[in-house]
Amino acid sequence: MISPSHEALTPGGSPKEAAAAGSGSPLEVPAAVEPLTAEQLAAEWDEERPPHAGVLANVGAAVAAAALGAAGLAMSLAMGLGTPEKPEPGMWPFLVSLVMVVMSVALLLFGRKKLDAEAFSSSSWLVVAGVGTLVGFVAVVGIAGFEIPSLLLTFIWLRFLGKETWRMSILLSFIVTAAFYVIFVVALSVPIPHLF
């Protein structure tokens, strides 16, 4: 699920090795510091950026925005427009929706060639999974309190989204949850639903 690139890119070896070495090990400064001009840096950033998504992404975005604007137009019309001196509630949303539709069509016609959208990659699934855990968190937090959902969420993010070790993930998720309990419930006595 994770693209291999971000495991091996730290100069001190993989993140796991770096962790094993402890945070005290000084990172060696490269002996020869090659100059890094603005142009080189910009080029490097360009390389690091994920591949662009192509024209279709812009077409999709424009169509989605236009549809949203059209829905806004229809609903504003239903609310009634009125006249400029006596506007009904729909007048302003109608104007805004109109701007949105016009701009979306303009994007579709003139702006779709600008390749500023990023392609989804296999690691985009991480985001889906992350959102899934959040949805699960909110769904149960009202009933079960925040401790168990927090524990599970932290654990999943650490172990599966962050690829930490099992031991690290279990240990840290308990520590994080305990810390949140101490800060929010004990110290600040925030009325968040909690079990204990």
Binding site: V29, P89, L161
Partner: protein
């Protein structure tokens, strides 16, 4: 002395020990969250909004000022150590800051940046102290038509000055305006876009939207694209700049501060333009321009002074006109509204204590930043060495639990998730989130003033042209709209001329 009496009184408020303590907490937490890779000032302030909620207004604002400066400096730290600018305005800092860090002189870069930020910020606050009452006095005569024109111009400028595609930014802004209409119509009391949902009846709150789009959206985006490619150095030594460094950079700091102050008043990318301009100016002035990009201290000092000065002077349009000039100011605007403070020309007159409290808390925030940043650099370096994978779930929990604490509402957490997904998708598809949030904040003000103006003019939109200030503002509005088209035409006629503008395609990390 009449002028200075309220200023001095304001200091009395700010210097109370509790307020100082909150400011200190704000600076430290602002820096702590601000150094998390990928989270720029807007995201940092958005995530920390709940912190200021239960506190008294003046104290909360002072804390916000601390968070603001802390978050700004947090972005500088990541620029220098990780080559990750927190926002567009610290992109240029990377050039020389990171080069210095690679030579083992990260401490020098961070120290000079802190000094420069302090100086730039102070110059700008003094300018703000002198200029704000004047501008506010001028704006007191503004009626609904002027505000309508001003708000429209403000939104358009932020949308067109931002890095992304202008069409997309305007689409994002209109979505923000639409979201602002959800809830009860203030004129007729009728419900709009509520879908018979009780939680939507009073409209959407600013905090969940800001926290979702800036905070969670950014976290989700980083989840996919880990930024930990560059390891932070283990130790940063010699944070105190040497006499030689100071001598080399003092001119750059002075020039950068002044330039930043003036460019920051302009709406849009004030701080970004200021930092770019200051860097370019120093490079041009320098006798040894080839040092720039290879670790020139001035190359850090100038843009950092300029962007902090600009970030501070962008408070002027916010506090005197009630118009936020950029995304970060939009968040501050929302935070002030929550505290019952409506920034605008009346603020200086009606509530001078509060107004000067806001301004003076910036002095204190700035000073505390300077005092805290230097000894704490070691701590931040340690945080930067903690892997993003570990920090991500912690920030997520802070966000969702934080937003819950504001209204004790689970619905607000759902909103954060929805807007977090929206923010993530917008970033993926190349839409800037800034214009959306700004337009949302200004939405109800714009609609109200537009409708009031139309009542005033008896329904005739031509009335806007009949008033000098609103007609000028609208002329500028039209000019900004047409500018890209004119530029295109101009470029076509002179296609042979080389494109001199350097392109900065680096996406703004808000």
């Amino acid at each position: 002395m009449d002028f200075f009496a309220p200023v001095i009184n304001g200091f009395g408020v700010v210097l109370e020990p509790t307020n100082l303590l909150y400011c200190l907490i704000g600076v430290v937490i602002g820096m702590l969250i601000g150094v998390l890779p990928g989270l720029g000032p807007a995201a940092t302030i958005a995530i920390l909004l709940p912190l200021t909620y239960g506190v008294e207004p003046v104290t909360a604002i002072i804390m916000l000022a601390g968070i603001f400066y802390g978050a700004q400096y947090g972005g500088t730290i990541t620029s220098v150590l990780l080559r990750l600018p927190g926002e567009a305005s610290s992109v240029v800092t990377v050039f020389d800051g990171y080069a210095l860090a690679r030579q083992g002189k990260a401490g020098t870069a961070l120290g000079i940046a802190a000094l420069g930020s302090f100086f730039g910020g102070t110059v700008a606050i003094i300018g703000l102290t002198l200029l704000a009452p004047v501008v506010a006095g001028f704006a007191l005569d503004f009626g609904p038509p002027e505000y309508t024109a001003l708000a429209m111009l403000g939104i358009l400028l932020v949308a067109t000055v931002s890095n992304g595609s202008k069409l997309k930014s305007i689409i994002a802004a209109s979505l923000g305006l639409l979201l602002a209409t959800v809830g009860r119509d203030t004129f007729t009391g009728e419900s709009r876009f509520t879908f018979d949902n009780l939680s939507l009846a009073d409209g959407l709150d600013f905090v969940p939207i800001a926290m979702g789009i800036f905070g969670l959206g950014e976290i989700l985006y980083n989840l996919e694209e880990r930024h930990n490619k560059v390891q932070a150095p283990a130790k940063v030594a010699n944070v105190w700049p040497s006499r030689k460094d100071l001598k080399e950079s003092s001119g750059a700091i002075g020039r950068g501060s002044l330039l930043g102050f003036f460019l920051g008043i302009l709406p849009g990318g004030g701080a970004t333009i200021a930092s770019l301009a200051a860097y370019a100016m120093e490079k041009k002035r320098s006798k040894t321009p080839e040092r720039f990009g290879r670790g020139a201290v001035e190359g850090v000092a100038a843009p950092e002074s300029a962007n902090n000065a600009a970030a501070t002077s962008s408070f002027i349009p916010l506090l005197t006109l009630g118009i936020p000039a950029n995304a970060t100011m939009a968040i501050i605007f929302g935070a002030l509204l929550i505290q019952g403070v409506t920034p605008g020309p009346q603020l200086v007159q009606n509530d001078p204590e509060l107004f000067w409290g806001v301004v003076n808390s910036m002095y204190i925030g700035n000073i505390l930043l300077l005092i805290m940043s230097i000894p704490l650099v070691g701590v931040f370096v340690k945080i930067l060495r903690v892997r993003a994978a570990i920090l991500a779930p912690i920030t997520v929990l802070i966000t969702v639990i934080g937003v819950y604490t504001i209204n004790n509402s689970i619905f607000d957490i759902w909103l954060v998730i929805v807007f977090g997904v929206l923010g993530y998708l917008m970033k993926k598809f190349g839409f800037e989130p800034g214009p959306l949030v700004l337009a949302f904040v200004l939405g109800s003000l714009l609609e109200e003033n537009l409708r009031r103006s139309l009542l005033l003019f008896g329904g005739d939109p031509a009335g806007f042209a009949g008033r000098p200030i609103s007609s000028v503002l609208l002329l500028v509005f039209v000019a900004v709209m047409l500018l890209p088209l004119l530029q295109k035409a101009f470029k076509k006629t002179r296609a042979t001329a080389p494109a001199a503008t350097a392109r900065h395609d680096e996406k703004e990390r808000v």
